[in-house]
């Protein structure tokens, strides 16, 4: 009897042992979102891959902040920190620091750090017959896609690879032109030492390419790239702000520039796209349609789509990169589009160049009318009272900036919109995207 009871006792316990559940296995998921560049949003740091100060050119390091911040600009050169520059800014406020007051060594990429966020930085470089500007990204992705370049005669195209981090980086640059994929050994496994940069003259290795898109793949470390296109005396700089199925270009055509969109598809499937045009009077949907082959690119002129100020929205059935480039006689300007809409935008550098005519560009692709309130800023804080501009549904507005001594702008609305700014002189033009503030 006892033998049986013991057997039953052990048997029951054994069943309980058998049924005891195992704990859930812990799996570590590595982030994949950092593999490609994400939308540039206001953050607590920015990496300006290209800035220049020499005898003929000057760059304004432009900063916009919503709150009081301590700003530090760091200039790594040849593996070491060559210079750091502190600045205090009230919030909201903006500053445009001439690079030559810190360093005058030619090209001097910089890291801009803020003690608080959101804040953003951009650069605007000016020289005789030259004007270039763009935002400084705050992400450091593994893959960067930069369409929109050309290496035709007298159009030097440089790829700036900035590695602000301590570790060395190793990248491979893949180029696609109108001739398709261009294998270039010189662009494979390019080493960029830590706290340093390299400038690849794409015109030297791939000359006379009408359309050139590059994809920078990082094998080790991280870098921040920028494309620098020269046309005559003018220059344009732009960077990658991510992949999206919808791009808004509030800024398309300025002056006599002939704008085109450069669209790159890094994916394995072809992508079809549609362009919607927005004017001050309203939208013209599906004005243009096209196709970007898998791992290929397309270039489409968006000149003369409407009279007066107009904007473009690109809708694709797959994620693409897109850049708007304006070309004219001895002039070039370019900037990426806005891959997302937001209620608040920072426009560092807008109005900072006193010799240029600056304009703000606001686009409302939504179905409701909105009112955009924009505030001019300088190092002392706000300049004058905020201004307002009404944006009916599906319209774009160009707002000229007449105020001198402005270093940046903050624009906000109760609805979603996108923003950019431009600057033009008689001989040069610059396009620059706005930077959305995350909610």
């Amino acid at each position: 009897m006892r033998r049986a009871l013991v057997a039953v006792l052990i048997g029951v316990l054994a069943v309980a042992v058998w049924l005891a559940p195992a704990p859930e296995p812990v799996t570590v998921e590595l982030p994949v979102t950092t593999a490609t560049a994400g939308p540039v949003v206001a953050s607590n740091f920015s990496n300006c891959a290209w800035a220049i100060a020499d005898d003929t050119r000057e760059t304004l390091m432009s900063i916009v902040t919503l709150s009081d911040v301590e700003v530090q600009l760091t200039f790594p050169v040849a593996g070491e920190i060559r210079e750091t520059y502190p600045e205090s800014l009230p919030g909201p406020g903006a500053s445009a620091i001439p690079l030559s007051t810190i360093l005058s060594l030619g090209v001097s990429p910089a890291v801009v750090e803020f003690s608080d966020s959101p804040a953003a930085a951009g650069v605007i470089a000016e020289g005789e017959g030259s004007l270039a500007g763009d935002l400084c990204p705050s992400s450091a992705s593994k893959v960067w896609v930069l369409p929109g370049g050309t290496t035709v005669q007298d159009r030097p195209l440089d790829l700036q690879l900035f590695n602000p981090f301590p570790e060395d980086a190793l990248v491979t640059v893949e180029a696609i032109s109108e001739e398709g994929f261009e294998p270039v050994p010189d662009l494979e496994r390019v080493s960029i030492p830590g706290r340093s940069w390299r400038t690849l003259a794409l015109g030297d290795v791939l000359p006379f390419r009408q359309r050139l898109s590059v994809t920078v793949r990082t094998e080790q470390g991280r870098i921040i790239p920028a494309m620098v296109q020269t046309n005559g005396t003018d220059q344009a700089i732009w960077t990658d702000v991510g992949r999206s199925e919808v791009w808004e270009f509030p800024l398309v055509a300025v002056g006599e520039l002939q704008p085109f969109l450069a669209i790159a598809n890094a994916g394995p499937l072809e992508v079809t796209y549609t362009l919607d045009v927005f004017t001050a009077d309203g939208p013209v949907e599906s004005a243009v349609e096209g196709l970007v082959p898998a791992e290929g690119h397309d270039r489409i002129s968006v000149a003369g789509l409407a009279d007066g100020a107009y904007a473009v929205r690109l809708r694709a059935d797959g994620p693409v990169s897109a850049v708007v480039v304006g070309e004219g006689e001895g002039q070039v300007a370019a900037t990426s589009g806005a891959p997302l809409t937001a209620r608040q935008w920072m426009l560092p550098g807008a109005g900072a160049n006193s010799s240029a005519q600056s304009s703000l560009w606001f686009l409302n692709t939504g179905a409701d009318s909105i009112t955009v309130t924009y505030q001019l800023l300088d190092a002392g804080g706000t300049v004058d009272l905020p201004s307002k501009v009404a944006l009916p549904a599906g319209t774009v507005r160009r707002v000229p900036l007449d105020q001198i001594g402005v270093s940046g702008v903050i624009a906000e609305s109760t609805g979603l919109f996108s923003a950019a700014w431009s600057a033009e002189t008689e001989l040069a033009t610059a396009y620059a995207s706005g930077i959305p503030v995350g909610e």
Binding site: R3, V6, L9, I10, V28, E113, P164
Partner: protein
């Protein structure tokens, strides 16, 4: 030759004299050499030589300096300064050399007997029987054996009288050099005696070399020499020990040296350590001196070895023939230990008692089991013995200072993570106590606790099953099942070092409550005290297992016939007393924490182990008698119940209960294995079905016990390989003058040392730059600093911190070590002030931002001397101390964010202490002392 047994069981051999029908002519021409070691007796020695009935042809005085030279000159005999002089001056006519110490006084016929005896058996070396000068009837030496390590074993008892009981010419391992006759050619060939060696070692050396050269070494007891032993007076003991090792290095072949040298070193270490507590306080110092001496003389040792090689005629087997088994040092230790424990044998004059005890000891099968267990432990724990505890999981190195740990334990600062006043885990106090007893020697304590735990487990299981009246085979198999069973291997394999120690202690705790209840009150109190101590020791390493003895006796009463309920009544107070030893840890821990805190290991034994256990249980229940069924029911319930508890990780049960489950499973498995094998042994001639059932059960038990072989390959007793030892040494190497700052370790929870905290997609913990240590294995509840660190890490992980080094500097963190890929590592690819260190085992980043654990207002860092901070006594202003804020860090304390600002005094910053924790710790120490005292006072030797 025929075997000859000494009275102590030692085998030697006697020359077969049956063939020697005619004694050989004594035609030897003797050159006597008086070896001067103590000049005071030289005249007497020369007089004794002059009186010899067998005249020496030549006499020479060797050594001794000017006085000896004068004596020689006065007596018109030659004098040489050293051995080389003697060899060079030996007359051609001489056939033998008689080496006589100057403190020896040979009887008149000593040489004649020596020559006769040596020639009769054609010996190359012959020694005399040595009698004490002060007691001429008392034996000093009649030749002797050695063990394989050349440690002499005379077989004589202390003050043994000469009753001619050894008076037969026989081969011996060596003869003492006080009176040795040796063939001249052999003497010259060997280069004489080794002048570097102490007297006894010189005798061993000469005898072994002579035998290796093909000579025969005998003792001729009819040749009697009175020996004053003055030669050894000025020779320190370590010189004898060192000399023996030199002799060993000279005579053995490389193959033999391959195992004798390391074993000799280990045994020497054990012996010296034990002897430190058995009356020879300088034993460890002597050991070191001996090793140093041999190292210094290694070139001449190798030269001697080469010289012997040229004349070598016999292999090591010939040398082994005259050696005793085992280790003479271990025997001596055993004797001394027995003498300490068994008081009656200390009575002088009870010679027979000593002899009987010794004989019984060597003839017990347990002796060989112990030897086997020691060898097993040495092999299975060789990596731990050689390199210390591998750092992995909760198996972390002990710190340098046990006292500092005990200070932290008794209400001091818990240095784990960013620090807290939380009490330490009881196992930390227990290990620190052991370490303190070992003069704070961390490595030794690690070895003792690790290897010792397994050893203690083996012995404890044998004791427990002997208490159950199981046979030796069952006991030993059960012991192996405890050490190598699935529960033990799983727990050890996860790096749960405290759990592994707990398993070693568990059989003792269970045995302590199933032992018979004494009759006398004093012994009853002692019984309870010792049981509480054993249970408390178990609970210190596995707190929930404090209930194991009580649970075990309850289960036994329920399933085993005849088990008394009184055991349960005894186990209750034992458990309560043992619980008191868990303070102050128990004072601060909630029931919820106790049951659900910590990462627990899900028990998932191999199918082989499950099958073996099932077979043993089922067959044992089927074929066993009531007694066996009782045991298997008892062990099986404990094993299966424990296994269930060990598999509750999926139910959210924390580490402590699951470890207790593993402990119960290990003990229960051992009992089942023992009962199954015992069944087979007892029913070998029963009915067929029972025999088959018994053998089936035994087979199952053996399968489980065979798991012990899995401990052998790694040499770490089943513990995982070192993951945080040498891998983190870079921090100490790269530390600045103020010492190593902190390391932030990031990875999966199971890939970090000790406990960890959870971040988004990763786990992390902070360890000292000197590497993780056992007192820091457990993390306290998160405090302000921990929350702040978590926020910083979340920001870094989100890519919002461009300068993580700067953010971490205020935590005193200088390095980030990733034990595996995780999101935080990816985030660090884009930052500005961390530089990756190349060539390390783990991906490691070093901050470029200065950030010490404590920094003065003058910017000068303070040095962390666990658990305090030390700086310049002249420092002015407050010091930032990167420990979780607590106002008890100093009188002029201020909060600095999550940390502290303290105005130091006398260059030292010390945590003021947590009074309740301190009082609880002192109370627990008091209970421990009282229990120990009562346990000793109430000890019943017969209970052994």
């Amino acid at each position: 030759m025929s075997p000859f047994a000494l009275h102590n069981g030692t085998l030697m051999s006697i020359p077969d004299q049956s063939k020697a029908t005619v004694a050989p002519a004594t035609s030897a021409v003797i050159a006597a050499a008086v070896m001067v070691r103590n000049e005071s007796q030289l005249e007497a020695a020369l007089d004794a030589l002059a009186r010899q009935s067998y005249e020496t042809a030549y006499t020479t005085v060797v050594g001794g300096g000017e006085p000896a030279q004068k004596v020689a000159r006065r007596r018109a005999i030659s004098w040489v300064s050293d051995m080389q002089g003697l060899i060079a001056g030996l007359p051609a006519a001489a056939t033998h050399v008689w080496l006589v110490h100057d403190d020896a006084s040979p009887r008149k016929d000593a040489l004649a007997a020596l020559v006769e005896g040596a020639q009769r058996v054609e010996a190359s070396v012959a020694g005399s029987k040595l009698l004490r000068t002060d007691h001429p009837g008392m034996l000093e030496s009649v030749g002797a054996a050695t063990d394989v390590f050349l440690v002499p074993y005379s077989g004589l008892d202390s003050e043994e009288m000469d009753q001619e009981q050894y008076d037969v010419v026989r081969d011996v391992a060596f003869v003492f050099g006080a009176s040795t006759l040796i063939r001249k050619d052999l003497f010259k060939g060997l280069g004489g005696t080794d002048p570097l060696l102490a007297p006894q070692a010189a005798g061993i050396d000469l005898s072994y070399r002579a035998r290796a050269a093909g000579g025969r070494v005998v003792v001729v007891p009819s040749s009697e020499v009175l020996h004053a032993s003055l030669c050894s007076e000025k020779t320190p003991l370590w010189r004898e020990e060192a000399g023996r090792f030199r002799a060993l290095l000279k005579v053995y072949s490389p193959v033999t040296l391959g195992w004798t040298v390391p074993l000799s070193a280990v045994i020497g270490l054990l012996y010296s350590f034990a002897m430190t507590f058995l009356g020879r306080k300088r034993a460890l110092v002597d050991l070191v001196l001996g090793w140093g001496w041999n190292l210094y003389h290694l070139p001449s040792t190798l030269a001697g070895r080469r010289r012997l090689h040229r004349s070598r005629m016999a292999g090591d087997e010939e040398l082994f023939r005259y050696q005793v088994r085992g280790s003479a040092l271990i025997r001596e230790l055993s004797d001394r230990f027995s003498s300490k424990v068994l008081l009656e044998d200390q009575l002088a004059g009870r010679l027979s008692g000593i002899i009987e005890r010794r004989r019984a000891f060597w003839h017990e099968p347990g002796f060989y089991a112990v030897l086997t267990a020691l060898v097993f432990l040495l092999i299975a724990g060789r990596e731990i013995v050689a390199d210390g505890l591998p750092a992995a999981g909760l198996a972390l190195p002990l710190p340098d200072s046990a006292w500092a740990t005990l200070r932290s334990y008794a209400g001091g600062w818990n240095t784990s993570g960013l620090g807290s006043p939380a009490p330490l885990h009881p196992s930390i106090g227990a290990t620190a106590l052991v370490q303190l007893l070992l003069v704070s020697h961390a490595n030794l304590a690690e070895i003792l606790l690790s290897v010792g735990a397994v050893g203690v487990g083996l012995v404890g299981t044998v004791r427990l099953l002997r208490r159950m009246e199981m046979g030796p085979l069952a006991r030993y198999a059960a012991a192996l099942a405890l050490a190598g069973g699935p529960a033990t291997r799983a727990l050890a394999g996860s790096g749960d070092w405290p759990g592994m120690i707990a398993i070693g202690l568990a059989p003792w705790a269970v045995e302590s409550v199933v032992a018979p209840w004494p009759v006398v009150l004093r012994e009853k109190i002692g019984y309870l005290a010792r049981a509480a101590l054993a249970t408390g020791a178990l609970a210190a390493f596995a707190p929930v297992a404090v209930l194991l003895p009580l649970a075990a006796v309850i289960v036994r009463v329920l399933v085993a016939e005849g088990a008394p309920w009184s055991a349960v009544a005894r186990a209750v107070p034992v458990t309560i007393l043992a619980v008191s030893l868990l303070f102050p840890w128990l004072y601060r821990i909630s029931v919820d924490q106790l049951l659900s805190h910590g990462e627990s290991l899900y028990f998932n034994p191999s199918l082989w182990a499950i099958a073996g256990f099932a077979v043993a249980t089922v067959f044992g229940l089927m074929a066993g008698d009531r007694r066996t069924v009782g045991f298997i029911g008892w062990g099986g319930t404990l094993a299966v119940g424990g296994s269930w508890l060990a598999r509750t990780a999926g139910l959210g049960v924390g580490r402590e209960p699951t470890v207790a489950g593993y402990v119960a499973a290990a003990v229960g498995t051992a009992i089942v294995v023992g009962a199954a094998i015992d069944l087979s042994a007892r029913f070998s001639d029963a009915r067929l079905w029972r025999v088959i059932g018994g053998r089936g059960a035994a087979l199952g038990g053996l399968i489980v016990a065979a798991g012990v072989v899995l401990l052998l390959p790694s040499g770490r007793l089943g513990l995982p390989e070192d993951r945080f030892g040498s891998q983190l040494e870079f921090a100490a190497a790269r530390s600045l003058d103020h010492g190593a700052d902190r390391i932030l370790m990031v990875g999966a929870a199971g890939e970090l040392p000790g406990e960890s905290r959870a971040g988004t997609g990763f786990s992390y913990r902070v360890v000292s730059g000197t590497g993780p240590i056992f007192p820091e294995a457990w993390l306290g509840a998160p405090r302000q600093g921990d929350v702040a660190l978590e926020e910083v890490l979340e920001r870094i992980g989100a890519g919002l911190e461009l300068r993580p080094g700067q953010s971490l500097a205020s935590f005193g963190i200088r390095w980030i070590v990733f034990t595996g890929p995780n999101p935080l590592e990816v985030a660090l690819e884009s930052q500005l002030d961390l530089r990756q260190l190349p060539g390390l085992d783990y991906t490691t980043f070093e901050s470029e931002v200065f950030g010490a654990r404590a920094v003065g207002a003058d910017g000068i860092p303070w040095t962390w001397e666990r658990p305090d901070y030390v700086g310049a006594g002249t420092a002015l202003g407050p010091v930032y101390v990167a420990e979780n804020q607590d106002r008890r860090w100093g009188e002029d304390w201020m909060a600095s964010g999550w940390a502290n600002e303290v105005v130091p005094s006398n260059g030292r910053i010390t945590f003021g202490g947590d009074e309740p924790n301190r009082n609880w710790a002192l109370a627990a120490a008091g209970v421990l002392a009282v229990l120990a005292a009562l346990g000793i006072v109430g000890f019943d030797r017969k209970a052994l």
